[in-house]
Protein backbone atom coordinates (compact mmCIF):
# COMPACT_ATOMS: atom_id res chain seq x y z
CA UNK A 1 0.00 0.00 0.00
CA UNK A 2 1.43 3.33 -0.98
CA UNK A 3 2.36 5.69 1.81
CA UNK A 4 0.98 9.21 1.92
CA UNK A 5 0.51 12.10 4.31
CA UNK A 6 -2.71 13.95 5.10
CA UNK A 7 -3.07 17.67 4.54
CA UNK A 8 -1.90 18.78 7.97
CA UNK A 9 1.04 16.41 7.80
CA UNK A 10 1.94 17.73 4.38
CA UNK A 11 2.22 21.24 5.77
CA UNK A 12 4.53 20.04 8.54
CA UNK A 13 6.58 18.14 5.99
CA UNK A 14 7.01 21.33 3.97
CA UNK A 15 8.04 23.14 7.17
CA UNK A 16 10.85 20.64 7.65
CA UNK A 17 12.11 21.15 4.11
CA UNK A 18 12.17 24.92 4.58
CA UNK A 19 14.81 24.68 7.32
CA UNK A 20 17.61 23.59 5.01
CA UNK A 21 19.53 24.96 2.06
CA UNK A 22 18.93 21.74 0.11
CA UNK A 23 16.49 18.84 0.10
CA UNK A 24 18.91 16.08 1.06
CA UNK A 25 19.44 17.62 4.48
CA UNK A 26 15.80 16.93 5.31
CA UNK A 27 16.35 13.20 4.85
CA UNK A 28 16.67 12.18 8.52
CA UNK A 29 13.94 14.48 9.91
CA UNK A 30 11.66 13.45 7.03
CA UNK A 31 12.23 9.77 7.79
CA UNK A 32 11.45 10.40 11.47
CA UNK A 33 8.30 12.24 10.56
CA UNK A 34 7.09 9.50 8.23
CA UNK A 35 8.09 6.74 10.66
CA UNK A 36 5.94 8.41 13.33
CA UNK A 37 3.06 8.58 10.84
CA UNK A 38 3.50 4.93 9.86
CA UNK A 39 3.09 3.03 13.15
CA UNK A 40 6.75 3.48 14.01
CA UNK A 41 8.42 1.85 11.10
CA UNK A 42 10.09 2.74 7.85
CA UNK A 43 8.45 0.49 5.28
CA UNK A 44 9.74 0.15 1.71
CA UNK A 45 6.86 2.47 0.77
CA UNK A 46 8.11 5.11 3.20
CA UNK A 47 11.59 4.89 1.71
CA UNK A 48 10.08 5.30 -1.75
CA UNK A 49 8.01 8.27 -0.61
CA UNK A 50 10.94 10.09 1.03
CA UNK A 51 13.20 9.40 -1.96
CA UNK A 52 10.64 10.84 -4.37
CA UNK A 53 9.78 13.87 -2.28
CA UNK A 54 13.43 14.79 -1.69
CA UNK A 55 14.54 13.86 -5.21
CA UNK A 56 17.05 11.37 -3.84
CA UNK A 57 18.00 7.94 -5.17
CA UNK A 58 16.18 5.20 -3.26
CA UNK A 59 19.57 3.64 -2.52
CA UNK A 60 20.66 6.80 -0.71
CA UNK A 61 17.62 6.79 1.55
CA UNK A 62 18.02 3.06 2.19
CA UNK A 63 21.68 3.64 3.07
CA UNK A 64 20.66 6.26 5.61
CA UNK A 65 17.93 4.08 7.09
CA UNK A 66 20.31 1.16 7.63
CA UNK A 67 23.01 3.32 9.26
CA UNK A 68 20.92 4.61 12.15
CA UNK A 69 19.56 2.35 14.89
CA UNK A 70 16.35 4.31 15.47
CA UNK A 71 14.81 3.60 12.08
CA UNK A 72 12.78 0.39 12.32
CA UNK A 73 12.76 -1.68 9.18
CA UNK A 74 10.19 -3.96 10.72
CA UNK A 75 7.04 -2.92 12.50
CA UNK A 76 7.66 -2.90 16.25
CA UNK A 77 5.13 -3.41 19.04
CA UNK A 78 2.68 -0.65 19.96
CA UNK A 79 5.17 0.55 22.58
CA UNK A 80 8.93 0.47 22.54
CA UNK A 81 10.90 0.05 25.74
CA UNK A 82 14.65 0.69 25.78
CA UNK A 83 16.66 -0.30 28.85
CA UNK A 84 20.00 1.53 29.04
CA UNK A 85 22.78 -0.89 29.85
CA UNK A 86 25.95 1.17 29.52
CA UNK A 87 28.37 1.50 32.43
CA UNK A 88 26.75 4.13 34.67
CA UNK A 89 23.43 2.32 34.47
CA UNK A 90 25.09 -1.09 34.85
CA UNK A 91 26.69 0.13 38.08
CA UNK A 92 23.22 0.98 39.35
CA UNK A 93 21.48 -2.28 38.48
CA UNK A 94 20.41 -2.13 34.83
CA UNK A 95 21.18 -5.83 34.37
CA UNK A 96 18.53 -6.74 36.92
CA UNK A 97 16.07 -4.32 35.34
CA UNK A 98 16.62 -5.86 31.93
CA UNK A 99 16.42 -9.44 33.24
CA UNK A 100 13.22 -8.54 35.05
CA UNK A 101 11.67 -7.05 31.90
CA UNK A 102 12.61 -10.13 29.89
CA UNK A 103 11.03 -12.39 32.46
CA UNK A 104 7.88 -10.31 32.90
CA UNK A 105 7.30 -9.93 29.18
CA UNK A 106 8.46 -13.39 28.18
CA UNK A 107 10.74 -12.05 25.44
CA UNK A 108 14.46 -11.53 25.00
CA UNK A 109 15.78 -8.05 24.30
CA UNK A 110 14.94 -7.31 20.69
CA UNK A 111 11.69 -9.25 20.81
CA UNK A 112 8.02 -8.22 20.83
CA UNK A 113 5.40 -9.59 23.20
CA UNK A 114 2.94 -12.07 21.71
CA UNK A 115 0.09 -9.60 21.92
CA UNK A 116 2.16 -7.11 19.91
CA UNK A 117 2.07 -4.46 22.64
CA UNK A 118 5.70 -4.08 23.67
CA UNK A 119 9.02 -4.36 21.90
CA UNK A 120 11.83 -4.66 24.44
CA UNK A 121 15.22 -3.29 23.50
CA UNK A 122 18.54 -2.40 25.03
CA UNK A 123 20.06 1.04 24.57
CA UNK A 124 23.54 2.47 24.92
CA UNK A 125 23.97 5.51 27.17
CA UNK A 126 20.93 7.80 26.89
CA UNK A 127 22.50 10.82 28.64
CA UNK A 128 20.69 10.13 31.89
CA UNK A 129 23.57 8.53 33.78
CA UNK A 130 23.03 10.59 36.92
CA UNK A 131 19.56 9.12 37.34
CA UNK A 132 20.46 5.51 36.67
CA UNK A 133 19.06 2.97 36.21
CA UNK A 134 16.75 4.30 33.55
CA UNK A 135 14.73 3.32 30.56
CA UNK A 136 13.00 5.06 27.70
CA UNK A 137 9.39 4.21 26.90
CA UNK A 138 8.37 5.57 23.50
CA UNK A 139 9.33 9.27 23.89
CA UNK A 140 9.58 9.46 27.67
CA UNK A 141 12.40 8.82 30.11
CA UNK A 142 11.84 6.92 33.36
CA UNK A 143 14.69 7.42 35.78
CA UNK A 144 15.99 6.20 39.15
CA UNK A 145 14.03 3.02 38.54
CA UNK A 146 13.12 0.35 41.04
CA UNK A 147 11.80 -3.07 40.08
CA UNK A 148 8.38 -2.04 41.48
CA UNK A 149 8.27 1.01 39.24
CA UNK A 150 9.23 -1.09 36.24
CA UNK A 151 6.34 -3.42 37.02
CA UNK A 152 3.92 -0.51 37.21
CA UNK A 153 5.10 0.85 33.87
CA UNK A 154 4.92 -2.53 32.13
CA UNK A 155 1.48 -3.24 33.59
CA UNK A 156 0.19 0.03 32.27
CA UNK A 157 1.62 -0.56 28.79
CA UNK A 158 0.23 -4.08 28.63
CA UNK A 159 -3.23 -3.15 29.84
CA UNK A 160 -4.11 0.31 28.59
CA UNK A 161 -6.58 0.52 25.75
Amino acid sequence: MAFSLNEAQEREFEDILARYPNQMAACIPALHFCQDANENWVSPEVIQFVAERLSLPTAHVLGVVTFYTLFNQEKPGKHQVWVCRTLSCALRGSEEILAHCEKRLGVHAGGTTQNGRITLRTAECLASCGSAPMMQVDKDYYENLTIEQVDQILDRLMQEA
Binding site: A25, L31, L54
Partner: protein, 463 residues
Amino acid sequence: MLKRTEFLSKNYGVEGGWLIEPYVKSGGYQSAKRALGMTREQVVAEAKAAHIRGRGGAGFDCGTKWSFMPPPGDKPHYLVVNADEGEPGTFKDRTIMEMNPHALIEGCIIGAYAIGAHAAYIYVRDELHLSKARLWGAIHEAREKGYLGERPFGQSWAMQVYVHTGAGAYICGEETALLNSLEGRRGEPRIKPPFPAQYGAFGMPTTVNNVETIAIMPTVFKVGGDAFSRESALHDLGDGGARLFGVSGHVKRPGVYEAAVGLTLRELIYDLGGGILDDRPLLGVIPGGSSCPIMLEEEIVNVEGDERFAPYNGKSVLDLPMGVDTYRRTGNMLGTCCAIVLNDSVDPVRAAQNLARFYRHESCGQCTPCREGCGWIERLFDKVVAGEATLEELNQVHQVASNIMGNTICAFGDGAATPMLAFVRKFRPQFEEYVRRGEAERNARRAALGSGDHGRSLASEAR
Protein backbone atom coordinates in the same frame (compact mmCIF):
# COMPACT_ATOMS: atom_id res chain seq x y z
CA MET B 1 39.33 24.24 44.66
CA LEU B 2 35.59 24.00 45.23
CA LYS B 3 33.74 27.16 44.26
CA ARG B 4 30.11 26.68 43.35
CA THR B 5 28.64 28.95 40.68
CA GLU B 6 25.21 29.49 39.15
CA PHE B 7 25.82 31.03 35.75
CA LEU B 8 24.01 28.28 33.88
CA SER B 9 22.16 26.45 36.61
CA LYS B 10 20.40 29.22 38.53
CA ASN B 11 16.97 28.21 37.28
CA TYR B 12 17.57 24.47 37.36
CA GLY B 13 14.64 22.80 39.06
CA VAL B 14 12.49 25.93 38.99
CA GLU B 15 9.09 25.28 37.44
CA GLY B 16 8.85 27.28 34.21
CA GLY B 17 12.48 28.37 34.51
CA TRP B 18 12.96 27.44 30.85
CA LEU B 19 10.54 30.11 29.59
CA ILE B 20 11.56 33.46 28.16
CA GLU B 21 9.95 35.67 30.83
CA PRO B 22 12.18 34.67 33.77
CA TYR B 23 15.16 34.53 31.44
CA VAL B 24 14.70 38.09 30.19
CA LYS B 25 13.88 39.35 33.68
CA SER B 26 17.29 38.25 34.91
CA GLY B 27 19.08 40.10 32.12
CA GLY B 28 18.64 37.56 29.34
CA TYR B 29 19.36 38.55 25.72
CA GLN B 30 21.23 41.68 26.83
CA SER B 31 24.50 39.93 25.97
CA ALA B 32 23.38 39.12 22.42
CA LYS B 33 22.25 42.70 22.03
CA ARG B 34 25.62 43.92 23.28
CA ALA B 35 27.57 41.54 21.01
CA LEU B 36 25.64 42.61 17.90
CA GLY B 37 26.68 46.17 18.67
CA MET B 38 30.38 45.21 18.61
CA THR B 39 32.54 44.31 15.62
CA ARG B 40 33.07 40.62 14.87
CA GLU B 41 36.73 40.97 15.85
CA GLN B 42 35.77 42.44 19.21
CA VAL B 43 33.37 39.57 19.86
CA VAL B 44 36.05 36.99 19.07
CA ALA B 45 38.53 38.84 21.28
CA GLU B 46 36.09 38.87 24.19
CA ALA B 47 35.54 35.13 23.80
CA LYS B 48 39.30 34.55 23.69
CA ALA B 49 39.77 36.53 26.89
CA ALA B 50 37.35 34.16 28.63
CA HIS B 51 39.56 31.14 27.85
CA ILE B 52 36.62 28.83 27.27
CA ARG B 53 38.06 25.42 26.53
CA GLY B 54 35.62 23.44 24.38
CA ARG B 55 33.17 21.64 26.63
CA GLY B 56 32.62 18.77 24.17
CA GLY B 57 35.67 16.82 25.24
CA ALA B 58 38.63 17.91 23.15
CA GLY B 59 39.14 21.15 25.11
CA PHE B 60 40.10 23.41 22.21
CA ASP B 61 39.95 27.13 23.01
CA CYS B 62 36.64 28.45 21.68
CA GLY B 63 37.67 32.00 20.75
CA THR B 64 40.67 30.64 18.88
CA LYS B 65 38.45 28.21 16.98
CA TRP B 66 36.16 31.08 16.01
CA SER B 67 39.15 33.05 14.73
CA PHE B 68 39.90 30.28 12.19
CA MET B 69 36.77 31.11 10.24
CA PRO B 70 37.38 32.98 6.99
CA PRO B 71 35.91 36.50 6.80
CA PRO B 72 32.33 36.51 5.53
CA GLY B 73 32.16 36.65 1.74
CA ASP B 74 29.66 35.38 -0.80
CA LYS B 75 29.48 31.93 0.80
CA PRO B 76 27.11 31.37 3.71
CA HIS B 77 28.71 30.38 7.02
CA TYR B 78 27.14 28.05 9.57
CA LEU B 79 27.25 27.54 13.31
CA VAL B 80 26.51 23.94 14.25
CA VAL B 81 25.88 23.10 17.87
CA ASN B 82 26.80 19.60 18.94
CA ALA B 83 23.99 18.32 21.15
CA ASP B 84 24.51 14.67 20.34
CA GLU B 85 25.55 13.96 23.95
CA GLY B 86 26.25 10.25 23.74
CA GLU B 87 29.59 9.75 25.47
CA PRO B 88 28.85 7.20 28.22
CA GLY B 89 28.69 8.90 31.58
CA THR B 90 27.90 12.33 30.11
CA PHE B 91 24.57 13.99 30.86
CA LYS B 92 25.25 17.70 31.32
CA ASP B 93 24.17 19.23 27.98
CA ARG B 94 20.74 17.75 28.40
CA THR B 95 20.24 19.80 31.59
CA ILE B 96 20.98 23.03 29.70
CA MET B 97 18.54 22.21 26.90
CA GLU B 98 15.79 21.16 29.28
CA MET B 99 16.20 23.80 31.97
CA ASN B 100 17.98 26.75 30.40
CA PRO B 101 17.35 26.56 26.64
CA HIS B 102 17.40 30.34 26.16
CA ALA B 103 21.06 30.47 27.21
CA LEU B 104 21.80 28.23 24.24
CA ILE B 105 19.65 30.22 21.83
CA GLU B 106 21.21 33.50 22.98
CA GLY B 107 24.64 31.91 22.73
CA CYS B 108 23.83 30.88 19.16
CA ILE B 109 23.20 34.52 18.22
CA ILE B 110 26.56 35.56 19.70
CA GLY B 111 28.47 32.63 18.20
CA ALA B 112 26.90 32.94 14.78
CA TYR B 113 27.64 36.65 14.65
CA ALA B 114 31.25 36.01 15.69
CA ILE B 115 31.84 33.58 12.83
CA GLY B 116 29.78 35.42 10.22
CA ALA B 117 26.84 33.01 10.15
CA HIS B 118 23.15 33.79 9.81
CA ALA B 119 21.97 30.30 10.68
CA ALA B 120 22.67 27.92 13.51
CA TYR B 121 21.71 24.25 13.53
CA ILE B 122 21.46 22.51 16.88
CA TYR B 123 22.04 18.79 16.28
CA VAL B 124 20.18 17.01 19.10
CA ARG B 125 20.27 13.25 19.46
CA ASP B 126 16.82 11.93 18.69
CA GLU B 127 16.16 10.34 22.07
CA LEU B 128 16.16 13.72 23.83
CA HIS B 129 12.56 14.55 23.01
CA LEU B 130 12.10 16.94 25.94
CA SER B 131 15.27 18.83 24.97
CA LYS B 132 14.03 19.23 21.41
CA ALA B 133 10.63 20.44 22.57
CA ARG B 134 12.14 22.99 24.99
CA LEU B 135 14.54 24.27 22.32
CA TRP B 136 11.81 24.68 19.71
CA GLY B 137 9.70 26.41 22.34
CA ALA B 138 12.56 28.79 23.11
CA ILE B 139 13.15 29.45 19.41
CA HIS B 140 9.49 30.36 18.88
CA GLU B 141 9.50 32.64 21.92
CA ALA B 142 12.68 34.37 20.75
CA ARG B 143 11.23 34.82 17.25
CA GLU B 144 8.10 36.40 18.69
CA LYS B 145 10.18 38.89 20.65
CA GLY B 146 12.16 39.67 17.51
CA TYR B 147 15.43 38.39 18.95
CA LEU B 148 15.62 35.98 16.02
CA GLY B 149 14.54 36.81 12.49
CA GLU B 150 15.38 39.57 10.05
CA ARG B 151 16.56 42.29 12.44
CA PRO B 152 17.40 41.04 15.94
CA PHE B 153 17.53 43.99 18.38
CA GLY B 154 17.12 46.30 15.40
CA GLN B 155 20.51 45.29 14.01
CA SER B 156 20.92 44.23 10.40
CA TRP B 157 22.08 40.72 11.23
CA ALA B 158 19.40 38.25 10.16
CA MET B 159 19.52 35.22 12.38
CA GLN B 160 17.75 31.84 12.43
CA VAL B 161 18.18 28.86 14.73
CA TYR B 162 16.94 25.35 13.86
CA VAL B 163 16.84 22.07 15.70
CA HIS B 164 18.03 19.08 13.72
CA THR B 165 17.90 15.51 14.96
CA GLY B 166 19.97 12.40 14.62
CA ALA B 167 18.64 8.86 14.68
CA GLY B 168 20.70 6.91 17.16
CA ALA B 169 24.42 6.71 16.42
CA TYR B 170 27.09 7.70 18.95
CA ILE B 171 29.58 8.40 16.19
CA CYS B 172 27.47 11.36 15.02
CA GLY B 173 28.92 13.26 17.99
CA GLU B 174 32.21 13.38 16.10
CA GLU B 175 32.04 16.72 14.37
CA THR B 176 32.52 15.64 10.76
CA ALA B 177 30.18 12.65 11.15
CA LEU B 178 27.71 15.12 12.60
CA LEU B 179 28.06 17.32 9.52
CA ASN B 180 27.42 14.37 7.21
CA SER B 181 24.40 13.47 9.27
CA LEU B 182 23.16 17.07 9.15
CA GLU B 183 23.46 16.93 5.36
CA GLY B 184 21.20 13.87 5.25
CA ARG B 185 23.88 11.21 4.83
CA ARG B 186 25.15 8.24 6.79
CA GLY B 187 27.00 9.53 9.85
CA GLU B 188 30.50 8.55 8.80
CA PRO B 189 33.40 10.80 9.84
CA ARG B 190 35.25 12.66 7.10
CA ILE B 191 38.96 12.73 6.54
CA LYS B 192 40.51 15.98 7.85
CA PRO B 193 41.74 18.24 6.30
CA PRO B 194 39.75 19.96 5.01
CA PHE B 195 38.57 21.18 8.41
CA PRO B 196 35.01 22.40 8.97
CA ALA B 197 36.18 26.03 9.04
CA GLN B 198 37.05 25.64 5.35
CA TYR B 199 34.62 22.97 4.21
CA GLY B 200 31.88 22.20 6.71
CA ALA B 201 28.11 21.95 6.55
CA PHE B 202 26.91 21.92 2.92
CA GLY B 203 30.51 22.52 1.87
CA MET B 204 30.52 25.94 3.56
CA PRO B 205 32.72 27.41 6.31
CA THR B 206 31.38 26.02 9.58
CA THR B 207 32.17 26.02 13.28
CA VAL B 208 31.05 23.08 15.41
CA ASN B 209 30.72 23.80 19.12
CA ASN B 210 29.39 21.88 22.08
CA VAL B 211 26.11 22.96 23.72
CA GLU B 212 27.78 24.15 26.90
CA THR B 213 30.52 26.06 25.05
CA ILE B 214 27.82 28.12 23.32
CA ALA B 215 25.42 28.36 26.26
CA ILE B 216 28.07 29.97 28.46
CA MET B 217 28.63 32.83 25.98
CA PRO B 218 25.82 35.06 27.32
CA THR B 219 27.60 34.90 30.69
CA VAL B 220 30.92 35.81 29.10
CA PHE B 221 29.39 38.92 27.54
CA LYS B 222 27.59 39.80 30.75
CA VAL B 223 30.48 39.68 33.20
CA GLY B 224 33.26 40.29 30.66
CA GLY B 225 35.68 37.78 29.18
CA ASP B 226 38.63 38.40 31.47
CA ALA B 227 36.53 38.60 34.63
CA PHE B 228 34.83 35.34 33.73
CA SER B 229 38.13 33.61 33.04
CA ARG B 230 39.31 34.64 36.49
CA GLU B 231 36.52 32.68 38.12
CA SER B 232 38.72 29.70 37.39
CA ALA B 233 41.58 28.48 39.54
CA LEU B 234 43.34 27.66 36.27
CA HIS B 235 43.07 31.11 34.67
CA ASP B 236 46.89 31.23 34.41
CA LEU B 237 46.85 27.97 32.48
CA GLY B 238 44.40 29.42 29.95
CA ASP B 239 41.49 27.37 31.21
CA GLY B 240 38.87 29.85 32.31
CA GLY B 241 35.46 30.28 33.82
CA ALA B 242 33.04 27.86 35.35
CA ARG B 243 31.49 24.72 33.93
CA LEU B 244 29.11 21.87 34.55
CA PHE B 245 30.43 18.78 36.29
CA GLY B 246 28.55 15.52 36.32
CA VAL B 247 29.00 12.55 38.59
CA SER B 248 27.35 9.16 38.21
CA GLY B 249 27.82 5.57 39.30
CA HIS B 250 28.72 4.83 42.90
CA VAL B 251 28.17 8.15 44.65
CA LYS B 252 25.44 9.08 47.10
CA ARG B 253 24.25 12.16 45.22
CA PRO B 254 24.75 11.63 41.49
CA GLY B 255 23.89 14.63 39.34
CA VAL B 256 25.08 17.73 37.50
CA TYR B 257 26.78 20.49 39.51
CA GLU B 258 28.12 23.84 38.39
CA ALA B 259 31.44 25.08 39.74
CA ALA B 260 34.46 27.14 38.79
CA VAL B 261 37.09 25.38 36.69
CA GLY B 262 39.75 23.93 38.95
CA LEU B 263 37.56 21.65 40.99
CA THR B 264 39.27 18.39 41.91
CA LEU B 265 37.91 14.90 41.40
CA ARG B 266 37.96 14.38 45.16
CA GLU B 267 35.73 17.43 45.62
CA LEU B 268 33.42 16.25 42.85
CA ILE B 269 33.08 12.80 44.37
CA TYR B 270 32.98 13.63 48.08
CA ASP B 271 31.76 17.23 48.42
CA LEU B 272 29.34 17.46 45.52
CA GLY B 273 28.58 13.78 44.97
CA GLY B 274 28.13 13.13 48.69
CA GLY B 275 30.81 10.45 48.92
CA ILE B 276 31.01 6.86 47.81
CA LEU B 277 27.91 4.71 47.79
CA ASP B 278 27.75 2.37 50.80
CA ASP B 279 30.90 4.08 52.15
CA ARG B 280 33.06 1.54 50.42
CA PRO B 281 36.59 2.18 49.17
CA LEU B 282 37.03 3.68 45.71
CA LEU B 283 38.07 1.31 42.96
CA GLY B 284 38.65 3.98 40.35
CA VAL B 285 37.08 6.90 38.54
CA ILE B 286 36.63 7.64 34.85
CA PRO B 287 36.90 11.43 34.84
CA GLY B 288 35.06 12.66 31.77
CA GLY B 289 33.17 10.12 29.72
CA SER B 290 34.13 6.55 28.93
CA SER B 291 36.80 7.49 26.39
CA CYS B 292 39.01 8.75 29.23
CA PRO B 293 41.33 6.23 30.87
CA ILE B 294 40.28 5.22 34.38
CA MET B 295 42.23 6.90 37.24
CA LEU B 296 43.19 5.34 40.56
CA GLU B 297 43.60 7.18 43.84
CA GLU B 298 47.14 5.83 44.31
CA GLU B 299 48.35 7.48 41.09
CA ILE B 300 50.63 10.40 41.97
CA VAL B 301 51.15 13.65 40.08
CA ASN B 302 54.71 14.09 38.89
CA VAL B 303 55.37 16.82 36.32
CA GLU B 304 58.96 17.96 36.09
CA GLY B 305 60.26 21.24 34.76
CA ASP B 306 57.04 23.23 35.08
CA GLU B 307 56.72 25.56 38.07
CA ARG B 308 52.96 25.71 37.76
CA PHE B 309 52.67 22.06 38.68
CA ALA B 310 54.86 22.31 41.77
CA PRO B 311 51.89 22.59 44.17
CA TYR B 312 50.43 19.32 42.90
CA ASN B 313 53.52 17.15 42.58
CA GLY B 314 53.49 14.26 45.00
CA LYS B 315 49.73 14.47 45.49
CA SER B 316 47.10 11.98 44.35
CA VAL B 317 45.60 12.63 40.92
CA LEU B 318 42.29 13.03 42.75
CA ASP B 319 43.66 16.30 44.17
CA LEU B 320 44.73 17.72 40.83
CA PRO B 321 42.47 20.56 39.59
CA MET B 322 40.36 19.32 36.69
CA GLY B 323 41.65 21.21 33.68
CA VAL B 324 42.39 20.40 30.06
CA ASP B 325 46.15 20.87 30.40
CA THR B 326 46.58 19.75 34.00
CA TYR B 327 45.11 16.42 32.92
CA ARG B 328 46.93 16.23 29.61
CA ARG B 329 50.30 16.92 31.22
CA THR B 330 49.79 14.14 33.74
CA GLY B 331 48.85 11.54 31.13
CA ASN B 332 45.15 11.75 31.90
CA MET B 333 42.25 13.06 29.86
CA LEU B 334 39.66 15.54 31.08
CA GLY B 335 36.95 14.83 28.51
CA THR B 336 33.49 16.12 29.37
CA CYS B 337 33.96 16.56 33.16
CA CYS B 338 31.25 13.98 33.81
CA ALA B 339 32.85 11.38 36.04
CA ILE B 340 31.84 7.74 36.50
CA VAL B 341 32.70 6.50 39.99
CA LEU B 342 33.32 2.82 40.71
CA ASN B 343 33.48 1.48 44.24
CA ASP B 344 35.26 -1.73 45.19
CA SER B 345 32.16 -3.87 44.69
CA VAL B 346 32.80 -3.56 40.95
CA ASP B 347 34.61 -6.20 38.98
CA PRO B 348 36.86 -4.09 36.72
CA VAL B 349 36.96 -6.85 34.12
CA ARG B 350 33.19 -6.75 33.77
CA ALA B 351 33.26 -2.94 33.63
CA ALA B 352 35.80 -3.10 30.80
CA GLN B 353 33.66 -5.70 29.05
CA ASN B 354 30.64 -3.39 29.27
CA LEU B 355 32.53 -0.55 27.58
CA ALA B 356 34.15 -2.83 25.00
CA ARG B 357 30.67 -3.83 23.89
CA PHE B 358 29.71 -0.17 23.59
CA TYR B 359 32.68 0.64 21.34
CA ARG B 360 32.24 -2.42 19.13
CA HIS B 361 28.58 -1.52 18.73
CA GLU B 362 29.27 2.13 17.87
CA SER B 363 32.27 1.91 15.51
CA CYS B 364 31.10 3.21 12.15
CA GLY B 365 33.18 0.57 10.42
CA GLN B 366 34.98 2.74 7.88
CA CYS B 367 38.51 1.99 9.13
CA THR B 368 39.66 -1.60 9.35
CA PRO B 369 41.79 -1.16 12.52
CA CYS B 370 38.86 0.36 14.41
CA ARG B 371 36.16 -1.96 13.11
CA GLU B 372 38.18 -5.16 13.56
CA GLY B 373 40.07 -4.02 16.64
CA CYS B 374 36.96 -3.06 18.61
CA GLY B 375 35.40 -6.40 17.73
CA TRP B 376 38.55 -8.24 18.74
CA ILE B 377 38.76 -6.51 22.10
CA GLU B 378 35.11 -7.22 22.86
CA ARG B 379 35.49 -10.90 21.96
CA LEU B 380 38.64 -11.13 24.06
CA PHE B 381 36.97 -9.63 27.13
CA ASP B 382 34.03 -12.00 26.64
CA LYS B 383 36.47 -14.89 26.54
CA VAL B 384 38.26 -13.63 29.64
CA VAL B 385 35.01 -13.44 31.57
CA ALA B 386 34.00 -16.91 30.32
CA GLY B 387 37.36 -18.23 31.54
CA GLU B 388 38.38 -19.19 28.02
CA ALA B 389 41.20 -16.75 27.32
CA THR B 390 44.93 -17.45 27.53
CA LEU B 391 47.65 -15.13 28.82
CA GLU B 392 49.01 -14.76 25.29
CA GLU B 393 45.65 -13.51 24.10
CA LEU B 394 45.47 -11.07 26.98
CA ASN B 395 48.89 -9.74 26.05
CA GLN B 396 47.79 -9.24 22.45
CA VAL B 397 45.43 -6.51 23.58
CA HIS B 398 48.38 -4.11 23.61
CA GLN B 399 49.15 -4.92 20.00
CA VAL B 400 45.55 -4.60 18.90
CA ALA B 401 45.15 -1.28 20.71
CA SER B 402 48.32 0.17 19.24
CA ASN B 403 47.17 -0.92 15.78
CA ILE B 404 44.08 1.21 16.27
CA MET B 405 45.74 4.27 17.79
CA GLY B 406 46.81 6.86 15.25
CA ASN B 407 45.65 4.72 12.31
CA THR B 408 42.07 5.81 11.91
CA ILE B 409 40.03 8.54 10.26
CA CYS B 410 38.59 9.90 13.47
CA ALA B 411 39.34 10.08 17.18
CA PHE B 412 36.83 7.34 18.00
CA GLY B 413 39.57 4.74 17.51
CA ASP B 414 41.86 6.27 20.12
CA GLY B 415 38.89 6.94 22.37
CA ALA B 416 38.04 3.25 22.31
CA ALA B 417 41.54 1.82 22.55
CA THR B 418 43.09 3.95 25.31
CA PRO B 419 40.51 3.27 28.03
CA MET B 420 40.57 -0.47 27.24
CA LEU B 421 44.35 -0.50 27.55
CA ALA B 422 44.12 1.42 30.83
CA PHE B 423 41.77 -1.20 32.28
CA VAL B 424 44.07 -4.06 31.31
CA ARG B 425 47.18 -2.25 32.61
CA LYS B 426 45.75 -0.98 35.87
CA PHE B 427 43.78 -4.10 36.74
CA ARG B 428 46.18 -6.69 35.37
CA PRO B 429 45.87 -9.00 38.42
CA GLN B 430 42.08 -9.17 38.09
CA PHE B 431 42.32 -10.02 34.39
CA GLU B 432 44.97 -12.66 35.07
CA GLU B 433 42.85 -14.12 37.83
CA TYR B 434 40.10 -14.90 35.30
CA VAL B 435 42.62 -16.48 32.95
CA ARG B 436 44.16 -18.60 35.71
CA ARG B 437 40.84 -19.73 37.07
CA GLY B 438 39.68 -20.68 33.58
CA GLU B 439 42.84 -22.66 32.94
CA ALA B 440 42.57 -24.46 36.25
CA GLU B 441 38.97 -25.39 35.50
CA ARG B 442 39.87 -26.72 32.08
CA ASN B 443 42.71 -28.76 33.52
CA ALA B 444 40.49 -30.18 36.22
CA ARG B 445 37.87 -31.12 33.66
CA ARG B 446 40.46 -32.77 31.44
CA ALA B 447 41.85 -34.77 34.36
CA ALA B 448 38.39 -35.90 35.43
CA LEU B 449 37.48 -37.02 31.94
CA GLY B 450 40.67 -39.03 31.45
CA SER B 451 42.35 -39.30 28.07
CA GLY B 452 39.80 -41.27 26.02
CA ASP B 453 38.48 -39.98 22.68
CA HIS B 454 35.33 -38.73 24.29
CA GLY B 455 37.31 -36.75 26.84
CA ARG B 456 39.50 -35.18 24.19
CA SER B 457 36.65 -33.93 22.09
CA LEU B 458 34.92 -32.39 25.08
CA ALA B 459 38.10 -30.73 26.21
CA SER B 460 38.71 -29.19 22.82
CA GLU B 461 35.17 -27.94 22.76
CA ALA B 462 35.71 -26.23 26.05
CA ARG B 463 38.79 -24.56 24.66
